[in-house]
């Protein structure tokens, strides 16, 4: 009861990285609260799946293994999570902010009338006072302890909002892949493994959607793991403007990323978006070209080793976190970077 739960996403028989990252975060939250960490593994042919998750410090693994649970479809997974939660009454539930987590999370939150915050960039435990309406309809100050702070950049400017759900359980949050760090706690960590009777949780009538065909492609690039990232913003001006960044990236053996503004303007594919609603990167070097640096973008790259900002606006917010600021237009500076890299690297 009142434990921290992580819903583990499973592709075939493999638990997704984002879920392992959340187990690490979940373990820390559970330690702070003095409760246990539990997780849900649902899919088909999951013999031994616990070996993938226990090392992250899971005290209890709930395995739901049945044909029809892989590939993921909304209803059966919602049913098993909701019915398990009615039994176990968790205080916190974390999910990946993936296609699956964003399909499942809201359905579960609606069924349980619990709050859900999407795309959190930080999760903490804290106490606070809040004015709430009492039974008589009057406002009164109430003290809450050990609450989950769901922290995420809010729309517009350098604003970060802390969201709480004091009156409803579980407190639910989704987090993107790469935002939290996964760390094995103990390769031999001992936890309990419960293999549930799926039929008791998921009525036959829930298997309503059939997956006819499924096609997973290999990623076209490795932005997430790149040692050097060359990123462009709205200031690149056009799709053609990005060609110059691809040339620079080729020279440096780097990957090309982009701010949301550049993606929305159609300069570059969505899968290259860096930031809160895109990829989180931690490269050795981050070269920001024509990026002003909204908090949503910075949330996805602030852990870069060295940040170089090229911007014609000397007051661009990103300059404040940059190690090197080059005041100039990208059209002028980027070709020079290519030229002098070629000259000096020989």
């Amino acid at each position: 009861m009142n434990n921290v739960f992580v819903y583990c996403e499973i592709e075939g028989q493999t638990v997704a990285d984002v879920s392992l990252e959340l187990l690490t975060k979940g373990r820390k939250l559970a330690n702070t609260l003095g409760v246990q960490l539990e997780c849900i593994c649902a899919g088909s042919k999951l013999d031994g799946v616990e070996k993938q998750v226990l090392p992250f410090g899971v005290d209890k693994v709930h395995v739901f293994d049945a044909e029809g649970l892989f590939p993921y479809t909304s209803n059966p997974h919602t049913a098993l999570v909701v019915n398990l939660f009615k039994q176990e009454k968790p205080q916190i539930c974390l999910m990946g902010a993936t296609v699956i987590g964003r399909d499942l999370g809201p359905r579960v939150s609606s069924a349980l009338f619990s709050g859900l915050t999407a795309d959190c960039t930080e999760l903490e435990i804290g106490d606070f006072d809040m004015n709430v309406k009492n039974a008589a309809g009057e406002m009164e100050k109430k003290h809450y302890v050990n609450q989950l702070y769901q922290i995420r950049p809010a729309f517009g400017g350098n604003i970060v909002a802390t969201i709480v759900n004091p009156e409803h359980r579980p407190q639910m949050a989704t987090v993107r892949e790469g935002v939290m760090k996964k760390e094995v706690l103990d390769p031999n960590y001992k936890g309990e493994v419960i293999r549930h009777d799926v039929a008791k949780f998921v009525p036959e009538t829930e298997y309503v959607v059939k997956v006819l065909d499924r096609h997973i492609e290999k990623a076209k690039h490795n932005l997430k793991g790149a040692a050097i990232v060359v990123a462009g913003g709205y200031g690149m001006g056009s799709k053609e403007g990005f060609d110059m960044l691809f040339s620079l990236a080729k020279e440096l053996h780097a990957e090309v990323g982009a701010s949301r503004a550049a993606v929305d303007a159609g300069f570059v594919d969505h899968d290259r978006q860096i930031g809160q609603t895109g990829v989180t990167v931690r490269p050795k070097v981050y070269i920001a070209c024509g990026i002003s640096g909204q908090i949503q973008h910075i949330a996805g790259m602030q852990d870069a080793g060295i940040i170089i900002s090229i911007n014609s606006d000397p007051n661009a917010p990103i300059n404040t976190i940059a190690d090197y600021v080059i005041n100039g237009t990208v059209e002028e500076v980027v070709p020079k970077l290519i030229k002098y890299y070629k000259k000096n690297s020989k």
Binding site: P71, S74, N75, T78, V99, I100, R102, D103, P106, R107, S109, S110, A111, F113, G115, L116, A118, D119, M130, F155, G156, G157, N158, I159, V160, T162, I163, V164, N165, E167, V208, V209, K210, V211, L212, R214, H215, I216, E217, K218, L252, H270, K284, I295, I306, I307, P314, N319, T320, I321, A322, D323, Y324, V325, I326, L337, Y340, K343, N344, S345
Partner: protein, 293 residues
């Protein structure tokens, strides 16, 4: 065979075209500088609805929005592009709603609309990016859902089945689902067709009651009697039989505890111009220190 289609639409501040005046000097949003627009992915959803209507003549498209009175603008826009009718849910007690209270309100409005075979909406709205309202409406109505849809491949009204291609992480998937259901449409789906000039002429004076001044309302009454399509249906909380505990702030489990202005801790940085000499030196330095290879 014809279909009853509901399209969910939201009016949002245009966060895509953020100009230099989008922020106030204090670092907050200058809402006045951001135009209100039809949420982009809701337009993708409308296009899917219009395609179904072409395929199944006699189908009707009802567009539903919740927001301030001026959100009726998105209804007009949808009418210009081919929707048949629109509903605006607007009421003071609905304000301050999080996604759960919003989805409850919209699901009550959908129940009031009555019959539906398919409910289409954008995957997410650009002002919050949560993608939660679609699935939450599906759950409240007891329907299944297909999220991240890219294309409706086929629909069989007799068998009550739909086949949809959808985006998944790292790929695509084709699913078959039963009608009725909720479908949220991804931005990678076909863009919405433009306005139709004839329809603009027909609907340009269509308004919701809350948009009219008392004088306008009086002047319009006889016109609307003859042309009822010029009245955009407007509902308040009572019209959709909403439980006061589940709407607005009261129906929202999530609370914003604090909003903090982030001041970046300034690093010790080196500022340079883009001169040849400085760039040359910078590259040499980065190479020498093996920061770049």
């Amino acid at each position: 065979m014809s279909l009853k289609i509901v399209v969910l639409a939201k009016q949002v501040p245009d966060t895509r075209n953020v100009g230099p005046d989008a922020m106030t000097p204090e670092g907050t949003v200058n809402r006045a500088a951001l135009p209100a627009v039809f949420n982009p992915e809701d337009l993708n959803a409308l296009e899917q609805a219009l395609r179904l209507k072409e395929q199944f003549p006699g189908s009707t498209i009802s567009v539903l929005t919740m927001g301030l009175p001026k959100s009726a603008e998105v209804i007009r826009e949808a009418l210009y592009r081919g929707a048949d009718q629109g509903y605006v849910v607007t009421d003071r007690p609905l304000g301050g709603a999080d996604t759960l209270a919003t989805s409850y309100t919209l699901s009550q409005a959908i129940k009031k609309i009555g019959e539906y075979d398919i409910i289409l909406g954008g995957r997410q709205a650009i002002d919050g990016d949560t993608a939660q309202v679609g699935p939450q409406i599906a759950e409240k109505l007891g329907l299944t859902q297909v999220t991240y849809a890219e294309e409706i491949l086929s629909l069989d009204p007799a068998a009550k089945k739909i086949v949809i291609k959808r985006h998944i992480d790292g790929g695509v998937e084709t699913v078959e689902a039963p009608l009725p259901l909720v479908v949220t449409v991804n931005g990678s789906a076909a863009p919405c067709r433009p306005r139709n000039a004839k329809r603009v002429m027909k609907y340009k004076n269509a308004t919701a009651a809350a948009e009219r001044t008392p004088e306008q309302a009086e002047a319009l009454a006889p016109v609307i009697e003859k042309k009822p399509y010029l009245n955009i249906t407007q509902w308040g909380a009572a019209d959709i039989d909403a439980d006061p505990a589940q709407i607005g702030k009261a129906g929202s489990p999530t609370n914003v505890k604090t909003v903090q202005n982030i001041v970046f801790k300034a690093k010790e940085s080196r500022t340079m111009t883009g001169s040849d000499e400085e760039i040359d030196n910078l590259i040499q330095e980065l190479l020498n220190e093996k920061i770049i290879g």
